[in-house]
């Protein structure tokens, strides 16, 4: 996304800061993790960091830096070639395939391309996540309504995704990711397809989700958002972690503006 000239929301609009629980055991650990894809591409190299519960972390870096690979390792779509990825103390390399659903139900996951089902309504899209994991769960309607209320779409229940703006579609995806009340929320370029205002709305929502107690990891190119939020930043370059700052910015202080 280009650096926008549209009025950025004032700093005061950024949701209240949530204190990460640094005294608790970390909820996410990367221990000297390297990932080489089968075709030989070394996507990340010797990356180490820990994330305490309720932290809000931006993963930034140029295209190909390895941001998505970090997300894919966290949801165990990929496994590390070297090192260890731990989620709530569980080494994902040793997670059995039949326990994968349990991991995924702890996580809310959204992507740049929303991944909504076009032939289902907003409410059906959100309900889908419950129907395929916990069919017969009671109060389905209430749970769906609640999730859509959080993202501000309670009046769009019967609308189809194609009738929504990009920002609204991403909100539906977030609502779907929320129905399991995840402790970890992962977002890979959630604002990548959105105009600045809509993107900012999504970031607000993620901050709010963090404020409610979830740990949030957001991979992004969005410099404006990162610079405005002043949250933790993990900066990737060529597969390596080059910066880990608590109240970081998209570029290092004094780094040349690209």
């Amino acid at each position: 996304m280009s650096i926008s000239t549209s009025p950025a929301p004032p700093r005061s609009q950024v949701a209240e800061t949530t204190r990460p629980a640094r005294h608790e055991p970390p909820i996410i650990v990367f221990q000297n993790v390297s990932k080489t894809y089968p075709n030989g591409a070394a996507a990340i190299r010797d990356v180490s960091f820990t994330i305490p519960p309720r932290d809000f972390v931006f993963v930034v870096g140029a295209s190909g830096a390895g941001k998505s690979t970090i997300i894919r390792l966290l949801i165990r779509e990929e496994t590390a070639t070297k090192g260890h990825v731990l989620v709530e103390g569980q080494d994902l390399a040793r997670l059995r395939r039949r326990h994968l659903p349990r991991l995924r139900r702890k996580m809310g996951i959204v992507f740049q391309d929303f991944k909504l089902l076009p032939n289902l309504t907003v409410a059906q899209n959100v309900a889908f996540a419950i129907q395929v994991t916990d069919p017969g769960r009671s109060h389905l309607k209430e749970k769906v309504g609640e999730a859509l209320y959080i993202v501000g779409l309670e009046d769009k229940l019967n609308t189809f995704p194609t009738e929504l703006s990009g920002g609204e579609q991403q909100r539906v995806a977030i609502a779907r990711a929320l129905v399991h009340r995840p402790r970890i929320f992962l977002a890979d370029e959630p604002t990548g397809n959105l105009d600045p205002d809509a993107g900012w709305g999504i970031v607000q929502l993620l901050l709010q989700i963090n404020h409610r107690g979830a740990t949030v990891v957001m991979a992004t190119h969005n410099r404006e958002v990162v610079d405005l939020c002043r949250r933790r930043v993990l900066a990737m370059e060529g597969g390596g972690l080059i910066r880990d700052e608590q109240e970081g910015q998209y570029l290092k202080e004094g780094e040349a503006n690209l």
Binding site: R98, P101, R137
Partner: protein, 298 residues
């Protein structure tokens, strides 16, 4: 997990898959039906041939040992006992001259001729005999050689009406039918399996987005698989019903009396149908499992 809504979900997706991808589903249906038709027909033919063989064998394994007219009842009984204790003999029974005459008049229609002979002073010409039921037709020759040396017996060969050529020939046909049926079923079955696999793979491709989301939100592998397995099973069972229908139709059209064509009875027909349904379900679910495997790889 509550089974009722889960089942509803699985059934709905399976039926949608079939309706949405009806072209390839129809192709699966056709090939599986052909496979099962071949299998069912082969079973019917083998059954009919086997019945012929059984008849031949049961006739061949009865050996009538004819006795000389002069022997006493006691020595006849003695002989019967000693023959009955032979390991190759299942049962032995004595048939006296009168019984032989009665048998001849009822089954051979010789009553009139026998009557004329007896009343004209010729007496009953039929010999008494010991009827041996052998366990195995292979023992016929050995027993025959053994008894022919006894002077208690009516001179001459003690043959059965065993036709040496018939049994090997029928056995040959049975083997050919079994082999031909097996090859037919194997070839058409392989084609059917491939087409079911393609059918389910198509359905999975059409639903790739859904499958991706299901995995993302934490659905289990089995929950992802079940609709596709059910899809394959439904196609298999419908094919089996079609095949059974065709076979029954042909069977009734060419049948007579209480049985269908080839002398297949109702019981066997029902068994074949059930077998085909089971076969269709197995073929369908196996094809589905193979078809869905790739979608669950990651």
């Amino acid at each position: 997990m509550n089974p009722i809504p889960a089942l509803r979900f699985v059934v709905r997706v399976a039926l949608q898959n079939i309706v949405r991808n009806r072209g390839i589903a129809f192709a699966s249906l056709l090939t599986v039906t052909l496979t099962l038709l071949g299998a069912g027909a082969a079973v019917g033919v083998v059954f009919a041939l086997d019945k012929v063989l059984q008849q031949e064998e049961s006739q061949a394994s009865v050996l009538k040992v004819f006795m000389a007219d002069h022997i006493s009842y006691a020595s006849a009984l003695n002989l019967e006992h000693s023959l009955a204790s032979e390991p190759s003999v299942q049962a032995a029974s004595f048939e006296n001259k009168d019984q032989a005459a009665a048998q001849a008049s009822s089954t051979l229609g010789l009553g009139g001729a026998l009557h004329i002979l007896e009343t004209s002073g010729g007496g009953n010409p039929l010999p008494a005999s010991i009827n041996l039921h052998l366990k195995n037709i292979a023992a016929v020759t050995a027993i025959n050689n053994q008894v022919s040396t006894s002077d208690l017996l009516f001179p001459g060969p003690h043959q059965t009406d065993y036709n040496k050529d018939v049994i090997p020939r029928v056995e040959h046909y049975i083997l050919a039918a079994q082999l031909g049926g097996a090859i037919l079923v194997a070839v058409v079955g392989a084609v059917a399996l491939v087409i079911i696999t393609i059918s389910v793979r198509t359905a999975a491709f059409v639903r790739r987005q859904e499958i991706e989301i299901m995995k993302l939100v934490g659905a289990t592998d089995w929950f992802v698989r079940w609709p596709f397995i059910l899809e394959g099973m439904i196609l298999g069972v419908i094919s089996a019903l079609l095949a059974s229908g065709v076979l029954l139709g042909v069977g009734v059209a060419f049948g007579s009396g209480g049985s269908l064509a080839l002398g297949v009875g109702v019981r066997l027909a029902v068994l074949i149908s059930l077998g085909l349904i089971l076969g269709g379900a197995v073929l369908g679910s196996f094809g589905s499992l193979v078809g869905i495997r790739r979608s669950l790889a990651t």
